[in-house]
Point group: C2
Chain length 416, copies 2
């Protein structure tokens, strides 16, 4: 039984959806395998491929994102081993298997924390990123990796309107876990944190309860917490030309970044109570779209093109400071980014007397400067700024995909 | 179109799952109705009934719970009107309709915030409770309702091991929104907060991402964040005798409490990192059950009865301080409560260097003293105390159910 390749889903099926562990005896300890027979499950997203999963994978419903710092004293070998252990555990968890391959010894801590046992893989993806600090870009080059820093990886500069909380910003490594079941996403982050103990310390984490992005033409455009459709004009998985031009790392990047990209995360708090008091027409002019249909102002349907030239009696139909005008590629020399954000709420903020809620913005781009240029414009002029605050920020290089058995970012450590 | 009785689900179906608002024109503004034609939707839980929904309703997957305080200067009439407005909005939202019945005026704020448009009702239930402060039980009787206080409603006493944060405790009113989609639950709480502006101020709120209770025999027992099945021996909807004996308010309560109950909420933080380092056998002895199967120690299957008399070579098979022994009705003069808790995580706590995660415990009982007696025993002796901390606490009287058109708690205001 110690190498049975039994997935959580299969366990559940075997037990008729009921007493899972009861049928399997030792339960969690028996569902262990290096041989992954769960590959064809409908709720399973393959871990390996040309790119890491979780970038152009159709956005799952829920997110658990975490940033980690390398612990004091941890060195280059520790980082390499961590990435190998994390990759192995993520590969197993995305297949619906427990994080650890070893059978549980009653006298030792379990190799999986157990809360996802009985749950399907739920389209889990785990995407890893490396922060600028690992390469000495924000201080001393303590790992001796400075000469391997991807040229486009640097801490984000100060941006207009930033009100950043250092406790929600930065990080040496990131883990983006997306799944249709939040317990499966939580389980992934928690087990990676457990496996990384001693080598990394969690810096911050963020739960996202609802996707706000459409990353495939097969998906309905979701609504963000302002009640507007978000991501109508996003780059989709079905548009390889745009992905090549705007998302995947450029020629000239190190080999381990081939098929990789850069991730920017921004915790954008929405001043929900203020927004909710704004008139519908003011909300629509702020965004530049109709709230109900998602159509651009002056148009009929969600996917009608933005007509930035259209004028009415009172001036431009889509106002000069409307969010969609300022964010449009036509206003930014053709710049596009792949957005993959999630709505969040972290309860009530007694200091401000308001809900702490908003958009956890994630974007992928071949060059973080694309985001920086966009945000310089939006942060300075966007009518939406009256209703939002950027309170967290981070950037990571996302290595390319893996072959079976290979560790994410392994190429970073091979001799040049 | 202003009274079309169109639910979000119907809008979605009409639009083939795609550009919802595009088909309907003004979108959100058109989906307004007092006539509820959405009653038979499979994902809809009826609002009205002998009891409020959300108590014995099979526990939905996600929770958004909020506690509110009455604003300074708000009086008895304000409270009565608030409950009427909240009930009307909740009745609409649980039917998949926007919170407000009026068509949106472009020059006015929308009567619904919009983020649930296009989503099904997702089994939404909204359950209201009244805190002891409303009746002057924790201070001045400013509403003149002191003589109507249900006799069993009083602030919880200090309990062993309490480490309560006042910012996560108490409240004059509570809203428990449960749904299978967290965006639908969030939407409900947010719109009720919006409607209540000026009369109530949110005091705290809690998102729960995964149910930890089994409130129907048709449900699989879920796992909590300790990885153990939770709620195996819970009272279920299929057991009206136990509900009558332990959950529904007793004879002699005021008429508006008929079919009502008392809600206790406890934010129980789990010391996840400590737990994860404990050996499997120690975890199992702490709980008194097997982790994989959920079976009591010494037994075979999850639903085998607890044998508290069984002894092995080393003493009782279920240890003296095991959680299930101390919590068992047999150890508590037959006391039972209906649990309806949810797992939560609120990110990383930089002060403690640990994940802020655990169980948001909710129980319903005919008398809060049942919970108090249990927690006095558990808080003093439970082996689990090494791994948990109670950091939030609140108690509310939950009025009985409503007839169509009737407001929750309306009987509280009728002349005696």
């Amino acid at each position: 039984m110690s190498d049975a390749g039994i997935s959580r889903r299969q366990l559940l099926a075997a037990a008729g959806g009921a007493a899972v562990g009861g049928v399997m005896g030792a339960g969690i300890a028996t569902a262990v395998s290096a041989d992954d027979s769960a590959r064809d499950q409908p709720e399973r997203i393959p871990f390996d491929g040309a790119h890491q999963a979780g970038i152009i994978t159709p956005a799952q419903d829920r997110l658990h994102f975490a940033a980690f710092d390398l612990a004091d004293g941890a060195g280059r070998d520790d980082l390499r081993e961590l990435l190998a252990m994390w990759t192995a555990a993520a590969r197993r968890m995305t297949a619906g298997l427990p994080a650890g391959a070893a059978a549980s010894d009653p006298a030792a801590p379990p190799t999986d924390t157990g809360e996802a046992q009985g749950l399907p893989p739920a389209q889990l993806t785990v995407t890893f990123g490396l922060g600028p600090g690992l390469f000495g870009a924000t201080g001393r080059d303590r790992l001796g990796l400075g000469d391997r820093r991807p040229a486009r990886l640097a801490a984000l500069p100060a941006l207009p309107g930033d009100e950043l909380d250092p406790d929600r910003s930065g990080g040496d490594l990131c883990v983006q876990a997306c799944a249709d079941d939040p317990q499966v996403a939580f389980h992934a982050v928690r087990n990676l944190a457990r496996i990384g103990r001693g080598v990394v310390v969690m810096r911050w984490s963020q739960l996202g309860f609802g996707r706000t992005s459409r990353t495939s033409t097969a998906q309905v455009t979701p609504r963000n917490l302002m009640g507007f459709k978000d991501g109508t004009n996003n780059i989709t998985a079905e548009d390889p030309k745009s992905l090549a031009a705007h998302v995947w790392a450029a020629e000239g990047e190190p080999a381990w970044m081939r098929g990789g990209t850069y991730l920017v995360a921004r915790r954008i708090r929405m001043l929900i109570e203020v927004w909710d008091r704004a008139a519908l027409e003011d909300q629509e002019k702020t965004i530049g779209r109709q709230k109900g249909s998602g159509a651009p102002l002056g148009s009929e349907a969600e996917h009608d093109p933005l007509d930035l030239q259209a004028h009415g009696a009172d001036g431009p139909v889509i106002p000069a400071r409307a969010h969609v005008r300022l964010a449009a590629p036509a206003s930014n020399d053709g710049t596009r980014i792949l957005r993959r954000g999630y709505s969040f709420t972290d309860g009530f903020d007694p200091e401000l007397g308001q809900l702490d809620a908003g958009l956890f913005f994630i974007s992928f781009q071949r060059d973080p400067r694309a985001f920086i240029a966009l945000q310089n414009r939006l942060g300075a002029h966007d009518a939406l700024n009256e209703y939002i605050k950027h309170v967290g920020s981070a950037v990571f290089a996302v290595p390319g995909g893996t072959r079976p058995g290979e560790a994410v970012g392994a190429g970073l450590f091979t001799s040049v």
